[in-house]
Structure formats: C-alpha cells, structure tokens
Amino acid sequence: MDSNLLWIPLFPFLGFLLNGILGKRLGNRAVSVIASVAPLLAFMVSFGAWRKIIDPASSGALHWDGFPWIWLDGILEIPFALHFDGLSAVMCLVITGVGSLIHLYSIGYMKGDPGYHRYFAYLNLFTTFMLLLVLGDNLLLLFIGWEGVGLCSYLLIGFWFQEDENCAAGKKAFIVNRVGDLAFLLGMFLCLIYFGTLEMSALTNADNIAQVSMETTGFMADPETGTGGMAVITAIAILLFIGATGKSAQIPLYVWLPDAMAGPTPVSALIHAATMVTSGVYLCCRLMPLFEAAPMALSIVAVVGACTALLAALIAFTQNDIKKVLAYSTVSQLGYMFFAIGVGAFSAAFFHVVTHAFFKALLFLGSGAVIHAMHHEQDMRKMGGLRKQLPFTHLTFLIGTFAIAGVPPLAGFFSKDEILFAGYKAGIMDGNSLATMFWYVSVATAGMTAFYMMRCVAMTFWGNSNVDAKLEGKVHEPGGWIGFALFVLAIASALGGFLNVPEFLGGHAILGHFTGLHVSHANMTPEELDILHAGEWTSMFISLAIAGAGLLVGYLFYRNGSGLPAAFRSSAPGAFLGKLSENKFYVDELYAFLIVRPFEAISQLMHTLIDQVLIDRLLVGGSALLVRGFGELTRRMQTGFIPGYLLTFGCGALVLIYILLNQLAKGGAQ
C-alpha cells in the first residue's frame, strides 16, 4: 500500500489542469515551467519508487489499493489501483524521463505558437494517461490510459486544427485505434468471464492460466454442440494482440501512424515513437505468461510482427518526408518487437522498447530540429548538406541512425541483436521452418533499416544543398532546450544498450531480470549453454554483417553524386517496386476502397432506402396514408342525398333483421 504512487500520474495531471484552465492567463513562461516540472516531479517520484523496489529487502513491487472503481460488491470488483513493479518502473522512468526531455525540447520548438498552453496541457495529459497505462493494476485501468493516450494522440495530431489534413489524421488515428480497442475490450470480457477478474496478478498466475487452458468449450463455439470455436486462452491472447496492433501500429492497423506525423514533431517523438506506440508491446510483456500459454497466438504475433517490419521498411525506402521515414521506421521497429514476442523473447522485445524510446526519440527530435531550422520544411529533397549548418544536430542524428541500424555498442545493437537471436533460436536452432522463414525476413529488415536510415541521413545532411534559396543563410543550429534534449538523448542512445548486456557478452541482462521477463538459463546443462552461446555469437555476426551491409549500400546509393537510385528506378522491376513503395503499397487506397467508402455508401443507401423510404415513408407514412384514405372513403360515403341516407337506414335495418332471423332460425331463442 503506497499511495505515493498516485503522485506519479497526478503531477502531470495537475500540470494539465493548471495549464488547461489557466494557461492563457499564466503566460507562456509559467506554462513552460509548470508543464516541464510536472513530468520531472513524476520522474522523481518514479525514481524514488524504483529505489524502493530495488531494495533487496522489499517485495519487488509497490502497490496502491486505490479506491473502488467499477465496483459491484461480490459480482464485479474492479478497483482503481496502481501497481509498480520492475516492468512499470522501467516504463515510468522512460516515460517521465524521455517525456521530461521532450517537454523541455518543446519549449524551444513550440515558441510563439498561439496554442502554446494548449499544447503543453495536452502533453501533460498524455503523460498522465501513459503513466496510468503502465501503472494500472488491472487491464481496465490500463485501458483508461490506453484510450486516454489515444485521445491525446488525437488531440495532438490535430493540434494545428486549421488544416483539414491534420484533423483527418487525428481522426484516423483515433478510429483505427478504436478498432483495435474493440478487440481489446472483447479480450477483457473473455478474461472477466474465465478468470473472473482483470487484475494483472491473476491474469499472469500460472494456476489460473492452466485452469483456463483446460476450458473445453471454445470461444465462439457452436452453442448447441459446444464444439468448434477457439481455445479460450488463444482467443484472449489474439484479441489482446489485436488491441495491441492498433496502438502499436501493426498490420493491419498500422495505417494511422504515418499520418500521425501531422502533429508537432516533439509529439511524434514522445507519443508516436517513444512511448504510446510501445504500449502494445508493454501489454504483451505484462501478460507474458498468458501469451506464453497460447503458442498459436504467439506465432500469429510473430508473423504479424515480421511482416509489419518488412512492409514498413519497404515503404520507408522511398519516403521523402523526413518524418514519414521515421514513422515507417517506427512501425518497422515495432514489428520487430512483436516478432520478438512472437518467438518468446519478451525480454528482448521490452529491451528494444527501451532502446527504441531513446534512439527514436532522438531521431525525431533531431528531425524536429532540422524542420524547425528549415522553417517547417519536411521534404528531404529540399534539404541536403545541412551538416555544415547543423553540425550538432547532424552528430546526434548520426548517433541515432547508427543506434537504430545496430552498430555496436550503441543501444540498438544490443536490443536488436537479442531479437534476431531469439528468431535465430526459434527458427534455425529449434528447427521451426516458419520461424526460420520469418527470421530471414527480420534479418533482411535489419539490413533495410540500416539502408533507409542511411538514405535519410545522406539526403538530409550530406551532399549538396537543395535548400530553398530563401531559406539559405537562415538555417542555424537550434540551441537551448532543443540542444539539451538532443544531447541527453544522444547519450542515452549511445549507452542505453548496456542496460541489458546479454550473458554471453559478459553482461547480466539486468533489465530482463529486473522486469522479470528474462528467461532463465540456469537450468540448462553446460553443453546446452555452449550451443546456445555459439548460436548467439553466430546470430550476432549475422546481424552485424547485415547492419554493416545496409549502411554501406545506403551510403553507396545516396552518397554525393551517386546515380544508383536513379539507375535502379529506371529498371522495370525497380520502377514497379519504387512505385509500390512510394504509394505505401496502396494500403490506404485499399482500405478506402474495401471498407471506408463502401461503408459510407451503404450507410447513405440505408439512410435513404431503409430509414427514409421503407420505414418512414412506406411503413409510417403509408399506414397514416392508408388510414386517411379510409377516412376519405368513409367521408365520401356521406353523399348528402336523402334517399341515399334513407336507403342506408332501411338496408341497415333489413340486414340486421335478416341476420337476427337467420340466427333465430338456426339456434332458436337463446
């Protein structure tokens, strides 16, 4: 019971309230202070909490019982409770740490924007929800954060709401996420039904999982026979994973993330690179035992992850918007993480979350610095040669690039290597052909990552300047908080890998142990361990080679004066692939063609046909018309003609008498 935990999300929330309500009156300076201090305070509280749980004497976790939330005594008890263990500690530190830096960065970046206080309010709110997401002790509370960050993402993508595109992108992000959330919700329902609770500890409890795995009637089984359907545990895992594909931009729901780049760049860094998009991975790690109990689900995760990684990398090849490149790179890296999860390497996935947070934030902030310096020019074709004007930015960006490409000993090297090894082990070493195939995919993707990042660097910083003449001379290094943030993140990207140095390299996999995701090798025989280490070495060399190759090819292609890209594009397959890649494989168009437009057309059609014509005109209006028609008919029967009236009278009387006599003849008097 530690109610101090509440302060972690509460500080940013207070910042949000202050800035949101009073922001306009406080002035930009006060807003900046409040906004940046809030996550810093949260960082400090998290840090304190972290110190507490690494104390060997502690239980390794802090817990705040909170208050009843959705609470029906004895029926459904979901508290508003926070839980702080290794996994959430790391996430909290990353969120508040990187978050604080980005807040600071934003002070410089957003200077002079009319929505200054609004921006920081949103950012603080985001931090709040993100922290709630990682601290939530049950899935539903996590879901508050989950949707909350989605909301902030929506608001921040559409931050410059005067542009239609920005709002459309925000809307798209929210809706696509909602689709994922739908599955998440259903997953939670299944958990509630079969586990009877949403508490993390219960969902990861081995006994509970074993019990649910024994469930014979599958999900969506035929109600009569009880057969068919999917194993419950698998269904839960898949549904939750679909939820994760929404938030973490995986196939098929990744389409929103590239569009989300419409928001301010620090937002892209914080939300769409470092923190929010990794929450899907966090979710899977959080529920590791559950996922592990569903191997089929895991293989789906792996396949989806690897495919996403590949697809996004392919698209990244031809993007000219610097942020789009980074966005696809993010999608690709997220795909990596899911691939890792799919092959059972939760620790590696989570490790990659952390390192990715560092270097991707760095890259985005670097790109932001460029964009800022270029007065909101994002097209790389109009850059080039910026190395001279922006040497510091160039340096940090390069560090980020090498980190993501996997150059040792930068952060990305360790995490990516671990992932590739996991694939290697699951595929080649364990002899699983599917895993092998997707291991190849992931290896190829690693090379491609190095390639397109190199392309990005070369187009932006190297070579000849293509900068607009009007801007020439105005481009200069951003200083102040922007530089500071870049600096800190560059260091983190460089050194972050040492958090989890694998055992074969003499490390202790600290992070893996700390978060409890590490698969222990303690029960292996020395021989097995040797084989394992041999594999690890092999895998490392492969990954090194592929990263190096990627970087080299990239450099050769895009170094100054190289005609290779043009030559490639002029070849037939090159032109075809280039077009595909440039147009993002037409996925957006496909969705529009298959889902969005038919849906709207059908809605419109239903509105006209069913709602207006069938129900309102035909049924409602028709019955009214019918009644009124009869009314008119009866009215017309009143002719005003006395003989007619008398005849009616007489006939009426006669008919009645006739009927009566008939009845009497038949039945006699009653």
């Binding site: 939330w69 609470w71 459904l76 559409g158 259903l186 329902f189 999900f219």
Partner: protein, 499 residues
Amino acid sequence: MIPELESFKMPILSLVTLTPALGALLLTLIDRNNKALIRQIALMVSFLGLLFSLIMVGNFDATVGTMQMEENLPWIESLGISYHLGVDGFSVLLILLTSFSMPFVFLSTWKAVDSRVKEFHIALLLLQTGMIGAFVALDLILFYLFYEAMLVPMYLIIGIWGGKDRVYAALKFFIYTMVGSLFMFLAILYLYNHAGTFDLPLLLERLRTTNPLDGTQQFWLFLAFALSFAIKVPLFPLHTWLPDAHVQAPTAGSVVLAGVLLKMGTYGLLRFAIPLFPEAAMDLREEFCWLAVTGIIFGACMALVQTDIKKLIAYSSVSHLGFVVLACFMNDVESLTGAILQMVNHGLSTGMLFLMIGIIYERRHTRELADYGGLAGVVPVYSVFFIIAVLSSIGLPGLNGFVGEFLILFGAFRADAVWGILAASGVVLGALYMLKMTKMFLFGPLVHDANRNVQDLQTREILYLSPFVIMMVWLGLYPSTFTKLVQPTLSLYVQMLQN
C-alpha cells in the same frame, strides 16, 4: 447535514414530484410580460426540485433493494387506483438525473425562448412533474397518467417553440407515442381484470402466486407493454419520430427529450414489462436483443451520414439506447447496472451536446454541419466543453460513458458473443460519427465569414455546462457512489427473475 425524513415526516417523493407542478400553478398567476420574474421563479422551483431530490437521495438506504419512502394513499378507490409512490435502485438515479438537468435546462432557455415565455415555463415544469412522476409511480394507472402527462407539454413545446417543420414533428411524436401507450393502457386494464389491482408490487406478487398468466396472455401483454416502451426508447425500427422531433424541438425540448424522456422507455421495460411478464420476456429475448443490436449499428450508420447536427445526435441516441435495451434483456446485475448507468450517462452527454448545439444555434441560426468548421479557434472554451461532451458520448474510459458501456457490453458478450461483438462495434462507429462531426464542426479551416465573430461561452453558459462535466468525471472515475445505490435492487430483481 441532510434532514432526516423520519423526524420531518416529509412526503418526500410527492415533494419531488409535485413541486414543479405547483411551480407551474404559481406561474399562471404571474403577469405574462414579466418575463424575468417568470424565468427566475421557474429556475428557483427547479432548484427546489433538485434540493428535494438530493434530500431524497441522501435518505436513500443503499443497503436494501426494496421500495423505499413509499407513499400509498387511496386515490380513486372506486376504480382501485391508488396514489402509490416509491423509489428503489431503478428509479433513484433517474429521478436525480431529471431533477439535476432541469435547472440547467431552464438556464439555457433564458435567451433562447422569448415568445410565450410563461407558457413555455409552465409546460417545462409540468413536463418535469410528468417525468419524475413516471419514475416514482408504483400504480400502473398512476404511471400511465404521468407517462401520458409528459406527452402533452412536450407536444406543445415542439409544436409551439419548434423549428420550421414543427407541426409535422410534433404530430409524429404524439401519434407515435400514442400508438404504443394505448396498447399498454389496454394491457394494464387486462392485468387489472386478471389480478384485480393496479398496484405494481401487489400485481407482481399475485401474478407469481394466485393469478398466474398463461403463455399466450403473457406474450400479448408483454408485447403491448414492450411496444409502448420500444417506441419511447426508441428501438429500431420504431425510431423515425426521434430525428424529426429532435431537429424541430427547441433546445430545451431536445435536452429533456434526449436527457430524460427516452429513458422512460428503458425504465418501463425494467420496471414493468420484464418483471411482470418474465417468461414472455425470456421467449422474446432473442428478438429484442437483435433489434437492439441492429439499432446500435443502424443508428450509428445513420448518424454517420447526417448533415444536420441535431439529427446526427438524434441518431446517436438511437444507437446509445440500443445498448440499454440490450442490457435490459440480460438478467444479470452487471448489465442492468450498466443499463441504468448508461441511461444516466446518455442523459448527461446527449443533454449537454444538445445544450451546446443550442448555444451555437442561438448565435448562428443554423444546424448544418457544412455551415461550420474551424470554430475551435474562434470559440476555444466552447470547443473544450463540446469535445468533453463528445468524448463522454463515445465512451472514453475515465468519463461516464465508458462505465455503462463496459458493463453492458460485458453482459451482452457473456450472454452471446455475437451480440457482444456487434454491439461493441457500435462503440467504434460511435467514435467514427462523433469525431467526424467534431472535425467538421470545430476543426478545419474557417471558411465561413459568419463564423468569425461567434461569441465564446458566457459565464452563465459555463455555469450550466460545468455541472455536466463534473458529473461526467464523477461518474467516470467514481461510479461506485451511484452503483452502490443501485446494486441491492438489481440483485433482488435478478433473483426474482431467476425464480
């Protein structure tokens, strides 16, 4: 703090119910030209009503599920009709919702309605009595009386102070509602002749023990009741009166209609139709659930293609109340709690949305989405409130809408995964049309010059919108304040149905 009823011997339910009617009576004595005084008195009366309902809630014993604060007086003895009021978990929140929204409705009309002010306020106050009365009535005829008594003022409100096609809309509203309620009336009379009483508790007792109904009787009687309530809800495909009524009604009318009146339908299902005829309800459960699910999706699809904001929100009501109907047919405490919360939530969020549309309509005199766009820059405060209402409406966790939807969807999913999935897809669609509307309404470039000088919210408007926001957050983060009140009754109810 809260006055103890025992010491006062206050007929608190009568006070809550009849205060507005007495206020209306008082208003008749006031000079029609003294508009300010009329408005103030109406406001004060509604606040008094709120005060009484707060006292009522304060004295509500959350530990028992049976009827409380009952008042049972003989009324028309010769016809067996009694003045029997009572409150339990089903009604307590709805009464509170009604009393809560009325003062703000009155505040919202200060500028909007300037012709026949006196009649308008009298109609609204009578409407309030009708609504609360329907929630507390435990005698079938008394209920029917209040149920119908709502009809006439609402009809007048739409017809007199409404928009261009108000006559058509009002007539449609009236006839539609009458179709259902007359059949219910017949069913009530049938029940009386069958079991010899109009008194609900007594009737429930007798139907289970001494005077059971056979299958056919149950079937038809249930249909009669359900038809009436389904129209009121409105359940697909009986919903076409709602868009027209909403669009034509003045703001206050829309708010009351969406906020409270529609709940009469689902409340009626829970209070009367299902417990009186449990077997028929079980037999027809599938059909009604399918209709509800269809309504959820259909309403959302319709909302998606609307260009009139009020119409859009009207269709969203069809969708949202589909959830409630779905939950009404799930006999478990979770769903039913969800149903009641969702009723309150819908009242808050849709009520607030209509209030806000009313505010902008006062300034711009159009409800076409195409006439707006880019307002967020012009009216930032307004936009914030609007977005909060939208978020509440699409069920963002942490706000009120989520809690109800979660419970309902859970219940539905547990009963039949297909229903759960289809209904839950309504949540996605909800986000779709709501955000589409928000985008067209608030965001994007400011294309119409007329929107350039729109005034932002005034203090009075902020004042009556803020309580809605507070309630939304309260219900979203600490719903147990309210679920506590509801749960014992629901547990009893579920037990009763299971026997």
